[in-house]
């Protein structure tokens, strides 16, 4: 393979694939490229995107968060219960929901920073604890529905701001905030440093523990925002529903990292990867494939994408 082709693949390999998929799907079904459908993709990706933002931050610290789903559930549960049982307005309920997520993050941080448990095991532990807490409080996993929730809260999922769906606006604001913090601020610089080489970051005088706590709490609070939207959408809290976002969020972060010239987890990469996953899901849907085939196909596409990631990183060296 010649050098320029190699470097093009190394830089843009993944983007080429995305474009190829878009062309393919729109060739199969012209509806795919319609404005409505594209907005559908974006809207349908909003919650995953929000969860993946937090995950990007965690992976940048060199860790992983298996409990983002729990944080999402807690966000939904706390908000719904606050409205239904305690009559909170939408604003208070949202804050309470986000605090619910913070509890999950604090537990993770306590295990990781306090007890020196590895992030993988700590968040796995939180995942188990959080799952069983939900089952206990819902008598085995029944949903808590709240049909007459305040319209403002409901609007988090179904409303719009100047014609743009509210959830997309929320996701966009969070993307911007994460982008500034992770890619432009000195906090982001420090987080990347401690994620890449903890010992060197420590010796350079960075407050490693402080940043770890901060990151795990922030990631959980962000996931909880996803939970607010999810619960507003279906007007209920369904226990353990956050889990479905976990693997996609992790995949998105790693695909996104592969898009970075130095392989770092990064916000633009995560956004592109989430949209890619959305495109695949939506495109396969429009092709009218049955549920099982669709899952298998998206699995194959994901694995190929990750293989490409590895190949890309090799090409860079």
């Amino acid at each position: 393979m010649n050098q320029t082709l190699k470097s093009i693949i190394a830089r843009f390999g993944f983007l080429i694939i995305i474009v190829a998929f878009v062309i393919f799907f729109s060739a199969v079904n012209p509806v795919f490229l319609g404005g409505d459908n594209l907005m559908n993709i974006v809207e349908g990706s909003a919650i995953l995107l929000i969860v993946a933002l937090g995950m990007t931050l965690i992976v940048a610290t060199g860790g992983i968060d298996l409990s983002v789903g729990i944080a999402l559930d807690f966000g939904a549960a706390f908000a719904i219960v606050a409205m239904k049982e305690y009559g909170f307005g939408w604003y208070g309920a949202a804050l309470i929901g986000i605090s619910g997520g913070a509890i999950v993050g604090l537990l993770n941080a306590a295990l990781i920073v306090g007890l020196k448990v590895s992030p993988f095991l700590a968040t796995l532990g939180t995942f188990f604890i959080g799952s069983s807490v939900q089952r206990i409080f819902t008598n085995g996993g029944g949903p808590i529905s709240h049909r007459r929730m305040p319209q403002e809260f409901r609007d988090l999922a179904v409303g719009d701001v100047f014609g743009i769906p509210t959830e997309v606006v929320i996701a966009a604001v969070l993307v911007l905030a994460y982008f500034i913090v992770m890619e432009r601020s000195i906090i982001g610089r420090r987080v990347h440093a401690l994620g890449m080489q903890r010992s060197a970051a420590r010796v350079a005088g960075l407050k490693v523990n402080k940043y770890l706590i901060l990151c795990f709490v922030a990631a959980s609070m962000t996931a909880a925002v996803g939970g607010l939207i999810a619960s507003a959408n279906i007007r209920m809290f369904t226990p353990l529903s956050g889990f479905s976002y976990l693997l996609d969020a992790i995949a998105a972060v790693f695909i996104g990292a592969a898009l970075h010239p130095r392989g770092r987890p990064n916000i633009p990469g995560t956004v592109i990867a989430v949209l890619f996953l959305g495109v695949i899901a939506n495109g396969l849907n429009l092709m009218g494939l049955n549920f099982n085939t669709k899952d298998a196909l998206s699995g194959i596409i994901l694995v190929s994408a990750l293989a490409l990631v590895v190949a890309q990183q090799k090409l860079r060296h």
Binding site: I180, R184, S185, I186, I187, R189, R190, H192, A193, M196, Q197, S199, A200, A201, R202, V203, A204, G205, L206, K207, V208, N209, R262
Partner: protein, 510 residues
């Protein structure tokens, strides 16, 4: 017998933006110890990695025993009996010593892997060839740097097939006692007819052990010395840096200011105990001691990397208790760590990012990084310390060893730290750069910094310090003025061969 075991001719290698090698040649005769010297970034490690098949040369030929090798791959080179002790330690921290030594060359019996046999073989090798006792079941992460180096050596030599062994700065992490051991091992290899390439910045080592020497400069071989004795150090320096260096150490004469750092009765079970020391503004205090003397742990404790079990530390007269380096840095105390690749630099970050890492506030506005200011600040430091290549965007991993060290120094010199803990600050640094670093340290002292210089190089301690503390088995056994101290005296103190205390040193320490 052939005229050369190894002949590398006109090797060229370019990295994006950097010419690492530009027609460099190297020829090694059978059974000789061949020195390879040159400034930081001269291309020594690169030519060795070309030989190892790690990098592919853009141009040039390689022959082993007069047989051309092409392409140069690690398999062919290994089969030809060439072994490498690379500058960087590539060991997996959670492997045992035995696993590390035999990784990829396990001994199998009909019953599968034979752990016992391998362990015994490894331990025997350490005992017989390297003359050290290392337990084969210990984890790599529990070993000190010196022992890790020895594991690396064992790994290269355990299969007994070596005909040419390449040592890339093997003594950098070692103390004088271990260096002796290593030299004995190297001479023993030579006696078995094995040829050796020996890369080092310590010219005394080169003149001590080598039969012939090749000098590299800017990616080329600029001189070959066929006869090596103690008197050719100057000739080597001149060939290396292109000029003569008359004094390695800047002429010192410090005016001692206020007491800045004081430790009383500091102890950490099993590592050191009852350590009392002080450092004044404008003073350079040396700490000498063998590996295992507690010197490393003491420095780490002062910096908050490990907790002190007993004792207290005061800064500017106020008691302090650092639970992490962040506390130390906040109080103006900084550390240049001995293992720069692990603790000094975030290797995958750029030089600019690394230089600014400890003072990000200064290159930011409301927490947002000002990239231009950051780059300018880094460039200024790069120019000041002559870090090469002078590109702030280059990834630190790609710098040569000495330039990495300068980058660590650059980070702290740019802060307004008042106390510098320097742990082996010139390991792997070329003579030219050493002189520059010594001058930087000297300037720091002159500007009123208090400096604690921990080193295994007695010459450095005597040349740079006002006072030297000698540690042995976790205690300070001597405290002496560096004036008039001879290298032999200092070595005798560190090894415990001398026991009399220097009263004069004690007197002026209070």
């Amino acid at each position: 017998m052939s005229a050369s075991v190894l002949l590398m001719q006109d090797i060229a290698k370019t990295f994006p933006g950097v010419v690492a090698l530009d027609a460099a040649s190297l020829s090694v005769r059978p059974g000789e110890i061949h020195g390879l010297v040159g400034e930081n970034g001269a291309g020594k490690s690169t030519i060795i990695k070309v030989l190892a098949g790690v990098y592919h040369a853009d141009d040039g030929t390689v022959s082993i025993q007069d047989t051309p090798v092409s392409p140069v791959t690690s398999e062919v080179i290994h089969a030809a009996g060439v072994r490498f002790i690379h500058q960087e330690l590539h060991l997996v921290p959670h492997f045992t010593v035995t696993e590390s030594v035999f990784m990829g060359q396990e001994i199998t019996t009909r019953l599968g892997l034979s752990r016992r046999l391998m362990c015994a073989r490894a331990e025997t090798f350490f005992r017989d060839v390297l003359d050290v006792e290392i337990n084969g079941d210990i984890l790599i992460r529990d070993l000190g740097t010196a022992e890790r180096k020895l594991v690396q050596i064992a790994r290269a030599l355990i299969d007994d097939q070596a005909r040419l062994v390449v040592f890339d700065e093997p003594t950098a992490p070692l103390a004088s006692g271990e260096i002796e051991k290593l030299f004995r091992a190297i001479r023993r290899l030579k006696d078995r007819g094995i040829a050796i390439i020996y890369v080092s910045h310590y010219l005394s080592e080169i003149t001590d052990i080598c039969d012939r020497v090749t000098v590299f400069r800017n990616g080329r071989d600029v001189a070959v010395l066929d006869k090596v004795d103690e008197n050719c150090a100057n000739e080597l320096i001149k060939a290396m840096v292109g000029r003569e260096i008359d004094a390695l150490y800047p002429k010192s004469g410090h005016t001692r200011g206020a007491l800045v750092l004081q430790a009383k009765g500091l102890g950490d079970t099993g590592y050191f105990s009852d350590i009392s020391l002080s450092a004044h503004s404008g003073e350079i205090v040396g700490i000498a001691g063998l590996i295992g003397s507690g010197r490393e742990e003491l420095i780490d404790t002062l910096y908050g990397l490990r907790p002190a079990r007993t004792g207290e530390v005061t800064l500017h007269g106020k008691p302090v208790r650092f639970s992490s380096p962040a506390d130390a840095v906040a109080r103006g105390m900084v550390l240049v760590p001995r293992d720069r690749r692990r603790d000094g630099l975030v290797l995958d970050m750029s030089v600019s990012e690394n230089i600014n890492l400890a003072s990000l506030e200064e290159v930011s506005c409301y927490g947002i990084e000002l990239r231009n200011r950051a780059r300018e600040r880094a460039s200024r430091q790069i120019r000041e310390l002559d870090i090469r290549p002078d590109n702030p965007a280059i990834i630190s991993r790609q710098l040569s060893g000495g330039n990495q060290q300068k980058t660590v120094l650059a980070r702290w010199l740019a802060t307004r730290a008042a106390i510098f803990l320097l742990d082996e600050p010139t390991v792997g640094v070329d003579v030219g750069a050493k002189v520059e670093i010594y001058q930087l340290i000297e300037n720091l002292a002159r500007n009123g910094a208090a400096i604690l210089l921990s080193s295994s190089d007695p010459g450095e301690l005597i040349g740079m310090c006002d006072r030297v503390l000698v540690m042995m088995r976790g205690r300070i056994t001597h405290e002496t003025s560096a004036v008039g101290l001879s290298i032999d005296q200092l070595v005798a103190m560190t090894t415990g061969a001398s026991t009399q205390n220097s009263a004069e040193g004690h007197a002026d320490a209070r």
